[in-house]
Amino acid sequence: MDTLTNKIKISIQGVTKVFPSKRADVMALKNLSLDVMDGEFVVIVGASGCGKTTLLNLVAGFDSASQGQILLDGQPVIGITPECGMIFQQYALFPWKTVQDNVEFGLKMKRIPKAERQEQAARFIDMVGLKGFEKSFPHHLSGGMKQRVSIARSLANDPKVILLDEPFAALDAMTRQVLQEQLVRIYEKHQKTIIFITHSIDEALLLSTRIVVMTARPGRILQEIVNDLPHPRNADVQLSDRYMELKRMIWVSVQAEVMKSIEEETV
């Protein structure tokens, strides 16, 4: 992307994460390093249980690394930071708050006055196409709508980085596609730095500017691929030779890791 600067937004430096357990300590991540530039859309692909979510939790400050550190704009991440807005697979909307109040939540925490809050929230609700649903409670919404509320809630809080942990994995294929396209449009408009986790290679190719493939546990980086597919990433792109070539390349490396993790489970 032409607006992509060379400024490092997030720097993951030699991070190891060990979860102590009674039987044997589990090493989820091993000496993992990754730099994410300002305005990049990095998609991390890996087999289930490879430590993708662990990595994202470390970036968000939900958990701390056993070794190594994570820098956000050159400052180490210590504790939970609202600068890294997280979007969860299970939406994590507050069931007792309306769509409007959910989206306003971050602004309310910043003690922004009610009128301004309402105006801002309305803008983001409109952006994700949920105008008219402001007064609805989350349990009246479909999964896709809930995830859109969650995206609006995160954007309204204006974080420096948006972290998405398999956000569309629980949605049906059609809804997923709509949301993927919506996310790309939001990314193109706002140029936020995004780290997105998925196990779908197609999703990675459709969304990313760069794809990072992780190994089976303990998670390390196996491969990094700059996604040079042209925009807009519509159905035509998905049928192009370059798309197939990239997909094959990623699949070969992911497949080997999936086999490894399956073998480990059966041992």
Binding site: C84, M86, A92, W96, F105, H139
Partner: protein, 253 residues
């Protein structure tokens, strides 16, 4: 719900009640049972009319209701914030756990001698019995409700910039509210048993006193009327509570 069906079911309930009362009335009128042991419903009704006319029935009922409400509201107002606090702090839970464990098994009745000694036969003494009977169980309900909050919601709130106090007010309190209210509904019933026991032992008015006094004068109809009034009053407060609940929990509709 099918409204026709539910009104049919209500009709069945009414018929069942009327049938029971009629059987009871006939059984008494046939002289199968001594009125001292079990007066007929009509006797209880005429006692009720008599006591309504000299305002004493209303006075006793209101006295008990006021005691229950004051004790219950004070106990809830203390238990809700304290329970949320203990439920979200493992350190302070450990500090207070021994006292909660010691107080929990004590029935409210066991506090009556001490409360009489300290407070005399006063209104405050009645409130204190209701308080002691309902506080610890309410607290345990609220701690449990607080612990049942989905940790993902707390995580999401913190990620959106909420402080620990914000999380308690914005996430834990509303998230635990349905369970807290369900617990308080049970506690309201317990508060009534507390006040009746306090009034049975020492009081000058109230439904418990009315029952005890009826016993002293061998007025079994007064005793039974007192018991019926307790049931009716608890049923009415439960109905009021349910209205209140719907207003507080609009998202559960």
């Amino acid at each position: 719900m099918n409204t026709k069906n539910s009104s049919n079911l209500a009709l069945i309930s009414i018929v069942s009640l009327v049938f029971f009362l009629a059987a009871w009335e006939i059984y008494c009128r046939m002289g199968f049972i001594e009125p001292l042991f079990m007066p007929a419903p009509s006797k209880i009704l005429s006692r009720a009319i008599k006591m309504l006319n000299n305002w004493s029935l209303l006075g006793h009922t209101l006295a008990s209701t006021r005691r229950v409400m004051v004790g219950f509201i004070v106990s809830s107002l203390v238990a809700i914030p304290f329970g949320i606090f203990l439920g979200s702090s493992r350190f302070f839970m450990a500090v207070f756990d021994p006292f909660i464990s010691l107080l929990r098994p004590l029935p409210s009745m066991s506090w009556i001698p001490l409360s009489l000694l300290w407070l005399g036969i006063t209104e405050t003494q009645k409130y204190s019995i209701v308080f002691m009977g309902s506080f610890v169980p309410s607290l345990l309900y609220i701690i449990e409700a607080t612990k049942n909050i989905d940790p993902l919601l707390i995580r999401a709130a913190r990620n959106l910039g909420a402080s620990e106090v914000d999380v308690m007010r914005e996430v834990i309190l509303p998230g635990a509210l349905p369970q807290i209210i369900a617990g308080l509904k049970v506690m309201l019933g317990i508060a009534w048993t507390c006040v009746i026991s306090a009034e049975l032992v020492a009081a000058r008015e109230g439904l418990g006193f009315m029952i005890m006094n009826g016993k002293e004068y061998f007025q079994t109809d007064t005793v039974l009327l007192g018991m019926v009034m307790i049931s009716v009053t608890v049923m009415i407060t439960d109905l009021v509570f349910r209205k209140f609940e719907k207003r507080l929990l609009p998202w559960t509709l």
